[in-house]
Structures are given as C-alpha cells and as structure tokens.
C-alpha cells in the first residue's frame, strides 16, 4: 500500500518502554474484561459464571491499579499535554480519513515526538482516558461493592440495574472503539507500521512535513 520511498522517511522514537508496556498490558486487561464481562452478561458459557466473575473482578482491580500508575506517569512526564483537545485541523483529519486517504494524499497531521496524536486521536483518547474508562471503573467498583451500599447510604436510591446499565453501555462503547482503533492501525504507510511502532517504539514518518507550533505538546 505504500507509495513512500524509504529515503523520504525518517525514524523517530515515539513511544517509551513504559508507554508500550502499558498499552499492551491494558490491551490484555481490556480483552479479558470484555470476554469475561460478556460471559457474565449471559452471552455465552465458556468459563462458567463463577470463574468469569472471579477473573473479571481480579483483572478489573488490576487494571485500576495499573491505570493509577499511568495517570502518575502522565503527570510526572508532562505527557498529559498530548491529550489537550483541539479542533484545529480536526476537520482536515476527518476529511483525510473520509476522502484523502483514498486519493493517496499525505496525512495532514503526521506523528511527531512532540505531537503523538492528531486532533481526532486527542479527542478520542481524552474521552476514553478522562471519561469513559474512569466511569467504567467507578461503575465497576460500585458493582463490586454492591453489598456495602447500605452502609454507604447509596441504596435504595441507587439500584444495581442503573449501575449495570452504565457498565454495559460503556462496555459496548469500548468494544466499538477497539474495532475502529485496531482498524486504524492499518492506515500507516504500511499495514503493520503503527503496530510495529507500538512494539519497538520507533515510528517511521515522512521527513518533509513540517510540524506546527500549536501541535507541540511541550
């Protein structure tokens, strides 16, 4: 699929070892949570309800702890700035994926060390990391601590149905995100370029496109 010649490309070290490990660890956590969660929801019977619940709870809490480390990393490294939302060039990115990509046009906002995410990614990842995932964790913790609601004064105004509704709705949203996210990894200059980058840390980007100041995270 590539029309680029190697001399046009340069290799940049985009993802640190911690980022990559975190990404793949989170991938495993989410995969296990989706698989066991859907079983608990009654979609299929593979592990058995009891086993599925036990794994789901353990991995859920593990994810929560790992997520806390991730937040710590974001703020100590200043990487949180990569998630500041912007609408600049948002339209051209959307236009690129809807149109330009078929015409072989270059990506309007290519990856740079200082700007890992294009505007669409920023919005998506911010929405995930700041809203959907925390909400999923909160609803998960509530689900898990159902028996303490009485002591905490939550019941009867809060019902398990409400929590289950939120937890399930976000699960669907995450599943939909994963489908699109995995597909989007194939839109690099080769089909596996982005995935390789998330393994090695090194991403190949075009030399020529200049980076604009507003894009820079630092």
């Amino acid at each position: 699929m590539s029309h680029h010649t190697p001399d046009k490309m340069k290799r940049i070290y985009l993802y640190t070892r911690y980022e990559r490990s975190w990404h793949w660890l989170q991938m495993v956590f989410i995969a296990v949570l989706l698989f066991t969660g859907l079983e608990i929801h009654g979609m299929y019977n593979i592990l058995g309800f009891e086993e599925a619940v036990e794994i789901h709870n353990t991995v859920g809490i593990a994810w929560l702890i790992a997520f806390a480390f991730f937040i710590f990393w974001l703020f100590t490294t200043g990487e949180w700035k990569q998630y500041i939302p912007t609408t600049k060039k948002l339209f051209s990115v959307m236009h690129y994926y809807g149109f330009g990509i078929f015409m072989g046009r270059p990506h309007p906002v290519p990856k740079r060390k200082e700007a890992k995410h294009n505007p669409l990614q920023r919005l998506t990842y911010l929405g995930l990391a700041a809203a959907l995932l925390p909400l999923q964790m909160v609803s998960g913790i509530l689900y898990w601590t159902y028996n303490q609601w009485g002591e905490w004064g939550l019941s009867p105004s809060l019902t398990l149905g409400m929590v289950a509704l939120v937890h399930m709705a976000i699960a669907f949203a995450i599943l939909i995100f994963i489908i699109i996210h995995v597909y989007m990894t194939t839109t690099g200059h080769t089909v596996f370029a982005h995935i390789k980058a998330m393994v090695s840390g090194w991403e190949e980007v075009e030399k020529t496109v200049p980076i604009e100041d507003w894009e820079k995270a630092k």
Binding site: S21, E50, G104, T187
Partner: protein, 533 residues
C-alpha cells in the same frame, strides 16, 4: 539502567495482578472467622440425668394411659399446663389472639382441607393425646424411646385380663411398662410418626420430611445423616417449656438472625445460628448473598430426593366406585394415584423447589374467605418481599390441586370426612358431608358444589445436601430457564439485561465492523489511484 527499568516494570505488573487478590471483595465484613461448626453428634438416647426405670411412680401396673400420665406429672408437675398452651395440643397458632389460625381453627389446606374444628375425628389420629384428644395428654408419644402401639396394647391388655389369660396380660403389661420407663428427648421416630406422614400418608405433605429421614445418609441430609452429624429433630427444634421452635404460621421467624456465638439463648436454631451469616470463606461472593438468599436455596437443590412426594391432589375425581366399593390404584412405585375416598394424585421424586421471598411466616386462606374460582387460589403463601429486610429468597414445595367450593358463596367447602362421623369417606355424598362440615364451621352452604384450583406451599429446610451438591451460580445467573425467573423487581447479573441497550450496543458494534470493512475495501480499490499521485 535498562535492567533496572525492566525490573521495575515487572514489579509493577506483579503488583497489579497480586494486589486485587490481597484486597478482600468485601473489605468490611471480616468479623466472623468461626466458620466450621464443630462436629456435634446427638446419638445418645439417654441425655437426661434421670434413669426412669428407677422411679417408683413408673414401677406399677398401668391399667390406662391416663395412669401413666399421672405418674409422669407426679414429678413433672408443670408439664400438663405447659402442654395445654402449645400448638401441639391446641393446633392453634399462639400468635393469633383470635384463635382462628391453625388446623383446629379456620386455616384450610388442599389436602384433607379442614379438621372441622377438630370434630373430623380421623384428623386427630395425629394428636398427642390418649385416644386422639379425648383422654388427656399422652407424654409417651413424644418421649417414649420404644415404639408401642398404645391404643392396641391397652385394649388387648384389658381383654386378656378380663378373660383370665393373665400370662398374656402380664406380657403386654411388661411392654407397656417398658415403654413408660424408657424416656428421653423426642427422637426422629417420635416426631416422624406424625410429621413424616402428614396429610394422610407418607410423603404427602412436606417435600423435605418423609420416612426416608428415619435413617438418612449424608447425601440425603448432612445434619441428620447417620454417617454424618446424626442430628435428632430437637438438635435444631429447641424447646422451652414444651414450646418447640420452628413453626411457620405467623411466626416472625427471621427477626433474629444471630449466631449462637452472639446469643446462645436464641429461641430458634436456624442455619445462621451455627454457620453464621458469613459461612463461606472470606472474600467469597457467596457471603454477599446471605442477606437476600436463604442458605436453603442453594443447599437444598431438590427435595424428596429418596422417596417421592405428592404434588397434586384432585378432589373432583373422588367418588368412583367398583361394584359399589371404594378402591385404590397404585403406580409402579406403590404410590396411590387414585383413591375413591380422595380423588386422584400425582407424585414426583427429586423435585426442584419453587422460589419466593419469605420472611419466615406463611399465611393461609381461612374457611369462609372469598375466592375467585376462575383463578388458582393460593391457599397458603409465603409472606415477604424484596423490600422486607427479613425476607430471603427461599425454596418451597408447592402442592397443587382441585378442591370443592360453594359456587354461590364462592368460598371453599370444609367437608366432614371421617367414617366415624359418617363423613364423605363412608357415604361418598358431597352434599351431606359438605352441609354438615360447613355447619360445624358456622359457615353458609348453598348446596351448589364446584371444584377450584388451588396451591399450598411448604418451606423446604430439611434434606440439606452435601457441599458438592449445592447449586452452582448458573442455576440462577443465566438469561433464561434459571431457577429465579419468577422473581421480579431487581437486577440479577447474568439473568437480566436491558434489551434496548443490548440491541443498540450490538447494532453499534455491527456498524463499526461494517464501517471499517467498507473503508478498508475502499482503500484496497484505490491503491492504483495513489500510485498515480
């Protein structure tokens, strides 16, 4: 440096995976650690400090039953007053000030329907008196450790004594005396004589109390099993002044869910008394169930596991005769499926219970209560709801049937049945037996008889199965055909779902799949165009 980073990262992953295991799922309830009840055996026939063979009062020839009772009372001076206040004597619930609730009152069922205020004499054959209820208390029915047919023995004794055959009379007197002197706490035979045979036969009424409990093994009942704890009835049915704990009429039974560690004087032994409210290992999700699910629900997966139990009784079929005589048809297992005097029956073995919210009381329809004959009447039903903090989901045997009702007054009929009173079992005359039965009850009877569907519930609490047979999660936590499908008003994971959300969610997933597929195909077909660029 690099190695240090790798080590740190490995530690992080290990922490993530290990920490959740260390935090108990319910961090709060960590008070009760006494989980395993000590193996307690209750086999001794002689738990008392007295040897009744040594009492002069019992070393005499007894001409009548009452004479034995008098001998008992010469030491146990308060026993008769105590007995006269019990439900075992009165057959009336002590919790109903009006004295209407109970077999001797207006409570009815869908077996023999009503005892007609104890005037239907066959019903009283289970009463704890001499000659039913006529001649005073019979202490020995509950306390003698010998199986003596008292009525027959006294009759025979009198007969042989009168006819001068003193040797035989002495022999009978010897058996009477032996029975009167071998005294202990009630054993399974004492209680079982009535309670295993309620409703006119073995296994008719309760699904969890039948003759198989005379000598059960561990698989049938972990507590009563002779190869297990070997409990006798009184191990759990504790007694104060002859008031035996464990009835269900309107007793608010579950008000005090305390373990014996918290209060060793609780009037009623329940599962929690010994096993505590958190009987499973710490952090086990099962412990979170005990506030809403009774122990019995998971630990009695089925009742009538050894002998079958009656589940259906159709009175409308009664009255068929062969050559003018009543008859009985049995099925291959020897259970009656038709009796001229009672109608047709259905039996079932290994029955899965039905589940209801239950706070420990059962209410019954009273004779004279209006019914809707077009619907199935719940002649008795468990009290409780999800909102009731004392209620738990509890397993029940539901006995269904058809029973006579007055089609004009829309009330159930309490027919007089006993042959002694020239009841239906002798005359096969619905009109006469209904008329006289309702007269005794002080209720109207129009002469118009129909048969209406009814249900009667029994809480299931005996026949607790071994741990290996307890219900798995998926007996209830499955989308359809689970055991709790009839319980509404709450969200149960695995059983319940929001249909609209699921539809929307899967539609979204499908749309995403379709979208990326089309986008991918689009890219595939436009490769050529890119090369032109």
């Amino acid at each position: 440096m690099r190695r240090k980073h790798i080590t740190l990262f490995c530690l992080l992953i290990a922490a993530c995976l290990l920490l959740p295991g260390v935090i108990p799922a319910t961090a709060v309830n960590s008070g009760n650690n006494a989980k395993t009840p000590l193996a307690m055996t209750d086999t001794s026939e002689k738990q008392t400090t007295a040897d009744h063979t040594k009492f002069p009062a019992l070393n005499q020839a007894f001409e009548t039953g009452q004479a034995i009772t008098e001998a008992c009372l010469s030491c146990h001076s308060e026993a008769d007053d105590q007995i006269h206040q019990t439900i075992h004597w009165n057959w009336l619930s002590p919790y109903d000030a009006e004295g209407k609730t109970g077999k001797a009152g207006y409570s009815i069922n869908n077996f023999c329907i009503s005892a007609n205020k104890m005037e239907d004499s066959d019903c009283n054959s289970c009463h704890i008196g001499w000659n039913k209820k006529e001649e005073g208390i019979n202490c020995l029915l509950c306390h003698s450790q010998k199986d003596v047919k008292w009525r027959d023995e006294f009759k025979d004794y009198a007969f042989f004594k009168e006819s001068g055959e003193l040797e035989i009379a002495d022999e009978i007197q010897g058996r009477i005396k032996e029975g009167a002197q071998s005294i202990g706490l009630p054993g399974r035979r004492n209680c079982g004589t009535c309670h295993f045979y309620g409703g006119g036969g073995e296994g008719v009424k309760h699904g969890d109390l039948d003759a198989s409990l005379h000598s059960p093994d561990k698989n049938l009942d972990v507590h009563m099993g002779q190869d297990s704890e070997n409990f006798r009835c009184t191990r759990c049915h504790t007694t104060t002044a002859h008031q035996i704990a464990g009835r269900v009429y309107s007793t608010p039974a579950s008000m005090h869910r305390k373990s014996l560690v918290e209060n060793d004087m609780v009037p009623k032994i329940m599962c929690e008394s010994c096993h505590t409210a958190t009987p499973h290992k710490e952090g086990d999700k099962m412990n979170d169930h005990t506030d809403k699910v009774a122990c019995q629900t998971c630990h009695i997966p089925a009742f009538a596991r050894k002998n079958s139990t009656e589940i259906y009784w159709d009175w409308s079929k009664a009255g068929n005769l062969k050559n003018g005589n009543p008859y009985i048809d049995n099925d291959a297992t020897g259970r009656p499926i038709y009796k001229s005097i009672k109608g047709s029956f259905k039996w079932e073995k290994n029955v899965m219970p039905e589940y209801y919210w239950y706070n420990g009381s059962v209410k019954t329809v009273m004779a004279g209560d209006k019914i809707n004959p077009k619907e199935t009447t719940r002649v008795s039903w468990p009290v409780g709801s999800r909102e009731d903090p004392n209620a738990r989901i509890f397993p029940f045997k539901v006995h269904r049937g058809k029973q006579p009702y007055d089609t004009v007054h829309n009330i159930f009929i309490a027919p007089l049945l006993s042959p002694e009173e020239n009841g239906y079992w002798k005359t096969f005359d619905w009109q006469d037996s209904s008329k006289r039965g309702m007269e005794i009850m002080g209720l109207p009877f129009s002469g118009q008889i129909g048969f209406a569907d009814s249900e009667y519930v029994f809480p299931t609490t005996h026949m607790v199965a071994p741990e290996k047979d307890a219900l798995s999660c998926m007996e209830c936590h499955i989308p359809s055909a689970g055991r709790m499908t009839n319980l509404a008003g709450f969200y149960m994971p695995g059983r319940d779902a929001f249909k609209l959300l699921d539809m929307a969610g899967w539609a979204g997933v499908l749309a995403a799949c379709a979208g990326v597929l089309l986008h991918g195909l689009g890219r595939l077909f436009t490769i050529g165009r890119k090369k032109e660029n």
